[in-house]
Symmetry: C2
Subunit: 430 residues, 2 copies
Amino acid sequence: MTNLNVPGLGTFDDIAAYVDGVGNAARIAARALARADTAAKNAALTEMAEAIRRDEARLLAANAEDVNAARAARKDAAFVDRLTLTPTAIAAMADGLREIAALPDPVGEISDVKYRPSGIQVGMMRVPLGVIAIIYESRPNVTADAAALCLKSGNATILRGGSEALRSNQAIAACVHKGLRSAGLPESAVQVIATSDRAAVGHLIADEKHIDVIVPRGGKGLIERISRDAKVPVIKHLDGVCHVYIDARANLDQAMRIADNAKTQRYGTCNTMETLLVHADIATSVLPPLADIYERKGVELRGCARSRAIVSSMKTATEDDWYAEYLAPILAVRVVDSVDDAIDHIARYGSQHTDAIVTDDHVNAMRFLREVDSSSVLVNASTRFADGFEYGLGAEIGISTNKLHARGPVGLEGLTSRKWIVLGTGQIRT
Amino acid sequence: MTNLNVPGLGTFDDIAAYVDGVGNAARIAARALARADTAAKNAALTEMAEAIRRDEARLLAANAEDVNAARAARKDAAFVDRLTLTPTAIAAMADGLREIAALPDPVGEISDVKYRPSGIQVGMMRVPLGVIAIIYESRPNVTADAAALCLKSGNATILRGGSEALRSNQAIAACVHKGLRSAGLPESAVQVIATSDRAAVGHLIADEKHIDVIVPRGGKGLIERISRDAKVPVIKHLDGVCHVYIDARANLDQAMRIADNAKTQRYGTCNTMETLLVHADIATSVLPPLADIYERKGVELRGCARSRAIVSSMKTATEDDWYAEYLAPILAVRVVDSVDDAIDHIARYGSQHTDAIVTDDHVNAMRFLREVDSSSVLVNASTRFADGFEYGLGAEIGISTNKLHARGPVGLEGLTSRKWIVLGTGQIRT
């Protein structure tokens, strides 16, 4: 590994020194970004979008090299699919940048300013986190998307994509740099790690001096590995074992629609329902017609004994099924005796991601909202709504299952924090 | 190490199993606390205060045993002072509990509820973090204070105080348990680790399954050790290298008062000024009279060459002085040429804790507020105001120098986070 270049800082011939150099350059750029005004950030984002459109041919060519190499390395079809850029994907990437330019700038927002008895005014100002490292897998569009969200929220970014996408990512980064340059912002505000050596990840996640937060995006294996080894705080997404609980006093029509949609609208997403809980009083009304819907759509049902007494075609659920995130057309089904039992089941087996109740009972709705400790709790709506766009964030960097800082969909605000500001007229403490 | 008891869970004869049992009991209690209503939490806090008053003699007796043992172990006077409970300190502890009872309950607060085009209403609800472990040193009053803040914010608490204070802490915990019991809340909502074996700390900070956040309170050595080894997120306070910058257009009278107060009101606090920056245009007016004030109060000045040219009695500041958190009557002094130089100095040498500008120049005040990346940034007020009580939080668990989650003084809100709530009328995602 030789001659890794960090613009403005020179050339490095070992990975640790290189990553340290990248971190140092990011830390310097972060100060310029934190004070960059909204117009400059938006101009950079708009010019990035234009550069991506203009450079379509170059992006496709770089991507074709990555795709050919992946095919030669016998990567599977799903992998190649995630890696492949098309003209449509490139246009979507450019549009995404323009959408982020159009979002309100969270940085500098001042709130809650109040006078204190001492005469000082105390309030809060929203500020960037500083330097964010994004570690992702093979999707090259993350390069533009993550860089744009971090830039708009005033953060410097270090991007470490999958090694198989390195040429695509560098071609996209060239467009990002054109945008930054045109707006007078430092190119080192967005850096792509220029080596496929895996040691770089180890150095990044340990670099507390230069990096404020790590955002891993990808499969569970990647996220667990990074969370286990990181010294830098991680905004992470682990399991999505999501529940829909159909209460005794549910509107039957709503219950059917929501249970159907939460499971079958998309099978592979983190906010897809994995376990259906049904109150015993309504189970005989709701389970047979629901089972028909699921059967038509090819969803395998795995039920508790009481569910199977109602729908005999269900397979038997084992203890493992209650913990399972299938991400597939499989659904665990359990009959419960009360909203308490439903809440207990979710506390025991759930992943604190997204859970919904269907009910017309006000008391049970309010109890479920308060007592279910998940990043999204819904009443009479599909779990599939747990999403940054649906919530109105405009864009999301991911969904956090952390309990500190941001929970659930993380948009621009989740990439900032708030500092205290004090406005005085010469006050001293006595 | 034998027979460590966790009420309701049995007796353990090894530290790892014991800490796991404590964590498990805390996790169960956390669910009860999260749904406890404000009246129950306040009743518990009020009864704790009364029990502490009633049990004064028992607390003093238990504390005397700890103090005698510490003296026998030749602990220094400052240590014994921190360890010692007096009737006044006990009364203050009880008053502190009543003050926390009187604060608004942050749990369940619903905010920002808006309709989305899909027809769902999306908002946020403030919720407890879950289980908080507080690791502290010899001050027994932290036992009551930390337990109360965690309880009011709906969290279960595991307390691990200094081994030298174990008898005092257990006596205080008995009062805490009386309060919990009288309000119908589980005693395991607040648990004191019943062993002085240091291995317990190692197990606690690694217990991601049961503990949501660690709050270390004490010296820098303790905090660094815990931060380095913890697997659980840590809300921590590291250095407080705080600056006051006197700008060219400062009001001279305000500048003198603030620079005096920020350094001399208390020397040992984390928000005490450690470096004074003075604009060159005002240095000859401000430094000589300030030097007189500091000299009268016995503050040693260590200046840059330009400061020393104005006040020849200053010692010479070395590079190390700019990084120093003296916590003592010593002050580093530097003359700078602009607000940019002041901001650069703070970015380079500061600790992102608390920094102030004294100026009548609006542009410089606004730039300093925005560009200084510290948890508290003040204009025309003493750095000593960076404090939960002064900010109106009512109480504080500490001051965070983290960038994620809470920055600066952490009160009840900092011990909570916000989850997303969705109120629908049967909506599904299309």
